[in-house]
């Protein structure tokens, strides 16, 4: 399994760069458009969380993204040196509230949890390592 690596900086504009690379990778590997869009949403959500909430300083940080696949199974990893954050332990968003009481916080993680087949989190040498698993369901 040959992996593709992308390194981005902790800036909003870099999210689009990463998402474009993910989409290009999936197109090249012949994944369906549905799968491509689910993963585009997942990377947009997880990277924006890291960039908006993960750093306590104004310094430049690098975020490493690794993409690999075997057949129709995609595995993507996001590695960052932001504050320790395990999205798998993040409380579930309340999706039953009426419009007037709705908050946006936590919805992104809720979305990703529901769109991915599996997620794994590890804290390794002061880094967050999040792995996303997604199988292309197209026959």
């Amino acid at each position: 399994m040959v992996a593709t690596t992308i390194i981005i900086k902790n800036k909003d504009e870099e999210i689009s760069k990463a998402v474009e690379s993910v989409r290009k990778y999936l197109k090249h590997k012949d994944f369906s458009e549905d799968c491509e869009c689910s993963l585009a949403v997942a990377f947009d959500e997880m990277l924006s969380n890291i960039i908006h909430h993960g750093y306590n300083d104004d310094s430049e940080h690098s975020i490493k993204i690794t993409l690999s696949s075997k057949g129709k199974d995609f595995i993507g990893t996001i590695e960052d040196d932001a504050v320790a954050f395990n999205p798998l332990l993040h409380p579930e968003a309340d999706t039953s509230l009426p419009l007037s009481e709705r908050k946006i916080g936590g919805l992104g993680i809720h979305l990703v949890r529901n769109m991915m087949d599996k997620m794994e989190y590890k804290r390794v040498q002061n880094k967050n390592v999040l792995t996303l698993f997604k199988k292309d369901e197209r026959v």
Partner: protein
């Protein structure tokens, strides 16, 4: 992202193209806010050219919906199944007028 608008009979139609995500959502919100500021309170967002919507996009529709509350209406139309799924997973589907 490319955003355009067209005045229709009882509504202002907004056509977005591309992804409604972290980077493009503030542009879409500013675009719609400008329409509301000009006194147009009935807005229809057409998703025909939209690939996908992330939670940053949901935030836009939540904000717009609150701005129009009691003044007008927000209609979301031509969503593909992927976008509908995002609205469904987050419980937003029954909260909006989706056509």
């Amino acid at each position: 992202m490319r955003i355009t608008k067209k005045k229709a009979e009882n509504t202002t139609e907004v056509f977005a193209e591309g992804a409604i995500d972290t980077l493009s959502s503030p542009k879409l919100l500013a675009f719609i806010e400008e329409i509301i500021a000009s006194g147009e309170y009935n807005i229809t967002v057409d998703f025909k050219g939209v690939d996908y919507v992330s939670s940053a996009g949901l935030k836009v529709f939540l904000s717009v919906s609150r701005m129009l509350e009691g003044k007008g209406s927000l209609i979301l139309r031509n969503m593909n199944s992927r976008i509908k799924k995002v609205f469904d997973i987050t419980g937003f589907l029954p909260l909006f007028n989706i056509q």
